[in-house]
Symmetry: C2
């Protein structure tokens, strides 16, 4: 139940007083999500955002064919939520699942709105966080429009070096947008190419 990493995260963009930190802490929940368990599942109305204290979550959808598509990995120090469901308060289509046992700080939507009223600085913090996230999604969409599968895989390896050897290959495939079989073949070719 140590929220220090979260306050380090806040400190990257805003400065909080001890009083504010205490207040914010009072609005947080702590939770351990065991590997393969869910924080939220499709069809639910999301009530909270999560900050990963340690471990790793992944957010994915399942399409009409039953295929999984990974929208985001959330390792230590990342924020994750089903923003669509959280904002609209409609059933979402995102599943957020723990890849390993994971500790998270949770903020309910209600408490987050409270926080914004009491500590307006946080409004800025989340604006900045979300701006960065937006840029990342734009970049990734652009990659999906302009790069081949091989290029997307190489870019993934550069961007998430710490994940490559720690997560199943099929989940990298579900992130870059190819079948696991095809990713396997890409890798086989790359090894030969050396």
């Amino acid at each position: 139940m140590d929220f220090t990493p979260l306050f380090h995260n806040f400190a990257k963009h805003i400065t909080l007083t001890k009083t504010e930190e205490k207040y914010i802490t009072s609005l947080l929940d702590f939770k351990i999500i065991k590997a393969k368990e869910f924080l939220v599942q499709q069809g639910e109305i999301s009530k909270q955002s999560a900050f990963v204290l340690n471990g790793c979550l992944r957010g994915y959808t399942i399409d009409s064919e039953g295929t999984e598509h990974v929208l985001s990995f959330a390792p230590k120090d990342w924020w994750i939520a089903d923003m669509y469901s959280l904002l609209s308060q409609k059933p979402g289509n995102l599943n957020i699942e723990a890849m390993v046992d994971t500790e998270v700080a949770l903020i309910s939507k209600t408490n987050q709105d409270l926080m914004y009223e009491k500590v307006p600085k946080l409004e800025r913090f989340f604006r900045i966080i979300i701006e960065k996230s937006l840029v990342a999604y734009q970049q990734r969409l652009n990659d999906n429009l302009s790069l081949t599968a091989t290029e997307r895989y190489m870019k993934f390896c550069k961007t998430y070096p710490q994940l490559i050897n720690n997560i199943p290959q099929k989940q990298i495939a579900a992130y870059i947008g190819v079948t696991p079989e095809f990713l396997s073949k890409l890798r086989a070719k790359q090894v030969k190419a050396k």
Copy 2:
């Protein structure tokens, strides 16, 4: 030089006093961008965000093959900027071009930061705007990962009914991520299917 549509836009999420409106107006620039002219071009460091008062802009990248990929259309009442370049102050890879003669309200990064200091409510406004934009990009990425070209085209038609008959087909193709030739064939099939 009528910024009324912009203040209507603000009013969707926050309430501004007349004084605040006047102050904000003093920080805005007005510009007419003629059809096929650019607001920003790749390689430049972006200095401003744009709000479309009327007309339509499009933001697109050009890949190593010379192919265009449309990241966003910005019709009346939409915000557009090269967020990556604006935030990082590094050369961007986005081109923002007018599809028809277009009137925009411009806010320089400097003035936007000023605005945030003087009218903190705007921090909330842009947080909300950007949250919505983020959800839209997540959704679109998910569509690109899970839908076929035909499905993406049909979804585009539903989402932007007002654009379909007003913009070149090749730019819809560049938005949904197919070649213009292939989109043409898709449409031919759909007509037959009726």
